[in-house]
Symmetry: C2
Subunit: 371 residues, 2 copies
C-alpha cells in the first residue's frame, strides 16, 4: 500500500518511474536486436529473446471484478463456476479446431451475455430509469478493425451487434437510438425489456434508489465514499474474452450492462477502443472490467499494449504496472494475452471471475487470488 | 509514398519497425538516466537531455484538416484566417496572463464553435436526418480528468458541456438524450436547430443525399472510393486546441459536428479519450481531426503520447510516425504540444487550418504546408 500511495504522489502516469528499468531492459534488447537479421526486425523482435515456443493458441475470459465475498453461498459459486467453465470450454474447443480469434471471442462473450449471473445481456443492471442500456465492443488485432455499440436496449446479444458494426458499417461506435436503427437494418435478434430482468439486479437498483433518496441527489456514483458490497458488486460483472488463434492473431471482446442506477446516457470503458477493449497483433489483446471512468482516463487497455510494444515489458509486468500502479485499489482488473500465448489476469479488487486455457493443456477457473 | 506503402505491408502498428532506432535512443537515454539524481527520475527524465529551456507557455489550434483548395476564394480564406487569428489571440493572451491550460483550451474551442466557418457548434454539418449531432471532449493533463459528450443537438457550446461532465459528474462520456438531460441539470445555454444552420453545410448534405440516392443505400461513407472535394471537405472541419500553461500543465479540447449525412448515432474520435483528444502532463496534449474511425482504431492521440512517454521519441517525430506511417494519406492530422513547449502540427491531407503561439513570441496561422 505504501508503494501504491507513493506512486500516486508522483506524476508517473506514463511509467516514467520505470525509465531506468526500461533503459536496462532496452540495453539488453539492443544487444538482442543487433543479432536479429534485418529483414526479421518486425514484430517478432519485440518478443522475449530466446523464449521457448508458446502454446499454439490461448484464451482468457472474465465475468467481472469486484468485491466477491468469500462466503458466497455454495450454489451461487457453483453457478458462476459452471457458466465460466462452459464459456471457456466453448472457446477452447473453437480455438483448438482452428477458428479465428475474432470469431471465438464473439462466441464466448455471447455465451456469457446469455448467462444470467453476469452484468451483460441477460442479467444486466438497471439504469436510473429502470431500463437496461448495454455496451459492447470487439476488436481484431490483425487488422485493428473494431466495432462497438453503446446504450442499446432491445438487442439480445450486443457483442454480435458490435461485430456487425465492425463487418458491415464504415463506423466503429454507434450509440443509442442510432445503434437500434442499425440493429433494425441488420435484422439481429431483439428482446423485450423483461428478457434482461434478474431479481438480484432489480433489488440492487431499488437499494441504489433508496440510498440516493436518503443521501440526496448529489451523490451520483463514483465520488461516493460508500464502498458497500452491494454497490461495488453492482458496478462490476462485465464479461470479456481475449484470444490468440492458431494463425497467431489476437482479438478481444467485452460486454456490459454498465453501472446500476446509471443516468445521463453514461458511456463506460467497454465500447471505447483502448480503454476497456483493445487488440493489436503487435502487442496483446486486453479486456477490462471495473470502474469504467478510471479505465477511460488511464486508457488502460492500450496502455498495457504500449508498455508491451514500446516499453518492452513482459505482458504480466505491463498489466501489473497499469492495474497496480496507475489505478487505485478496487478499480478493477484485466485479462490479456499476447502472441506468444502468455496470459495475464490482474486485478486490484478482492476477486475477479475468470478462466484461462491454452493449447498446452492449461484449463483453469478462478475467483479469488488463491483457490 | 513507397515508404508509406511498405510500412503498411508490415505489422508495424506498434512501431516495432522502430525497435532498433528505439534501442539506440534508449541506450543514449540510459547514459543520461544514470546521470539524473534518483529523486528527480520522475517525469522530467523523459525530456530531451540538456534541452534548452522552452517557452513558458505554448498553444496550438486547428480548424480541421482535409482537401482545402489552393484557389479558395480570397474572402473565404480571409474569414478562416481572421477566425483562427482571433482564437489564437484569445488563447495567447489567456496563457500569458497565467490562466490554466484546461480553461484556455475550453475558451478557445468555444470561440471556434461559435465561428460559422468550422464544423463544430454553429456551422456543424447535417446528419442523415437533417439534424446536428455534436461531439466534444476536454482533458486535463495534470489529473487525467476528462469530460466528453456525444450526439448533443441543442447545446450551443458542447465543449463547455464536456467541461461540466469533467467538473460536475462522476462520468467521462455522456451520450445523446442522456447528455441533453445532463445539460438540463447544468442549465447550459440551449439553442434551436436553426442556430446551427449554415447554407454551405446544408448544400453539402443535399449533395450527399443525392449521391446516396444515385448510388444506392449501400454506399454509406468511408468505404466509398469517391474522394471528391465536396465529400472530403465535409468530413473535416473539427476544431481543437492544445496548451501548455505557465504552471507546466497540459490540456486538450476538441469539438465537431462529425460527418455530413452520418447516421445510426455514429460516434467519431473526438469524444473518445485517446483517439481524437488526449492530455497527459507526463507526455503531451493532442487534438486530432480527420476520419474518426481511423483515429479510434489507431488510438492516435494516446499513441503519440506513448511514443513520447515510452518510446522516448521527440514530439514531432512521434506525431510524424503516427500520422504518416500508421494512418494513410488523406486521413487527417493532429496538433500537439509537450511540456517543454514544443509544438507539432502534422497532417497527411492537402491542408489543415491551424495556428501556433508561444511565450517566446511565436504567432502563426497556416493552411497548407507552405505559406
Amino acid at each position: 500500500m505504501n508503494r501504491l500511495a507513493a506512486s500516486r504522489r508522483r506524476p508517473s502516469v506514463f511509467g516514467i518511474d520505470f525509465l531506468c528499468l526500461g533503459c536496462l531492459l532496452l540495453s539488453l534488447a539492443f544487444v538482442a536486436c543487433t543479432e536479429v537479421p534485418a529483414d526479421s526486425a518486425g514484430s517478432e523482435a519485440a518478443l522475449p529473446v530466446a523464449a521457448p515456443p508458446g502454446p499454439a493458441w490461448a484464451i482468457a475470459i472474465h465475468g467481472g471484478a469486484g468485491v466477491i465475498e468469500r462466503d458466497l453461498p455454495e450454489a451461487e459459486k457453483q453457478a458462476y463456476v459452471t457458466a465460466l467453465t462452459s464459456a471457456l470450454t466453448l472457446g477452447r474447443d473453437a480455438l483448438d479446431r482452428g477458428e479465428r480469434s475474432v470469431d471465438v471471442v464473439e462466441k464466448v462473450v455471447r455465451f456469457l451475455e446469455d448467462a444470467p449471473q453476469f452484468n451483460a445481456g441477460k442479467g444486466a443492471v438497471f439504469t436510473h430509469q429502470g431500463k437496461h442500456e448495454l455496451d459492447a465492443a470487439i476488436m481484431d488485432g490483425e487488422t485493428l478493425e473494431a466495432g462497438a455499440v453503446t446504450g442499446v436496449s432491445t438487442v439480445k446479444n450486443p457483442i454480435s451487434l458490435a461485430r456487425l458494426v465492425l463487418e458491415k458499417s464504415p463506423h466503429v461506435l454507434l450509440a443509442g437510438a442510432g445503434a437500434e436503427a442499425f440493429a433494425d437494418d441488420m435484422g439481429v435478434e431483439r428482446v423485450g425489456d423483461q428478457y434482461f430482468f434478474v431479481k438480484r439486479r432489480y433489488d440492487a437498483w431499488q437499494r441504489a434508489l433508496a440510498r440516493e433518496k436518503a443521501e440526496g441527489e448529489q451523490r451520483l456514483g463514483l465520488d461516493s465514499g460508500d464502498k458497500s458490497t452491494d454497490e461495488s458488486d453492482d458496478k462490476h460483472g462485465t464479461v470479456g474474452a481475449v484470444a490468440l488463434d492458431r494463425d497467431g492473431h489476437l482479438a478481444a471482446a467485452t460486454s456490459t450492462g454498465g453501472l446500476t442506477n446509471k443516468r445521463w446516457g453514461r458511456v463506460g470503458d467497454v465500447p471505447i477502443v483502448g480503454a476497456g477493449t483493445y487488440a493489436n497483433d503487435a502487442a496483446c489483446a486486453v479486456s477490462g472490467t471495473g470502474i469504467g471512468e478510471k479505465f477511460i482516463r488511464h486508457t488502460v487497455a492500450v496502455d498495457i499494449a504500449a508498455l508491451v510494444g514500446y516499453g518492452h515489458l513482459p505482458l504480466a509486468e505491463a498489466a501489473r504496472v497499469v492495474i497496480e500502479e496507475k489505478l487505485e485499489p478496487g478499480d478493477g482488473g484485466v485479462i490479456t494475452v499476447d502472441r506468444t500465448g502468455a496470459i495475464a489476469m490482474v486485478f486490484n479488487t478482492p476477486g475477479m471471475f475468470r478462466g484461462a486455457a491454452d493449447a498446452d493443456g492449461r484449463f483453469e477457473i478462478a475467483i479469488w487470488n488463491d483457490p
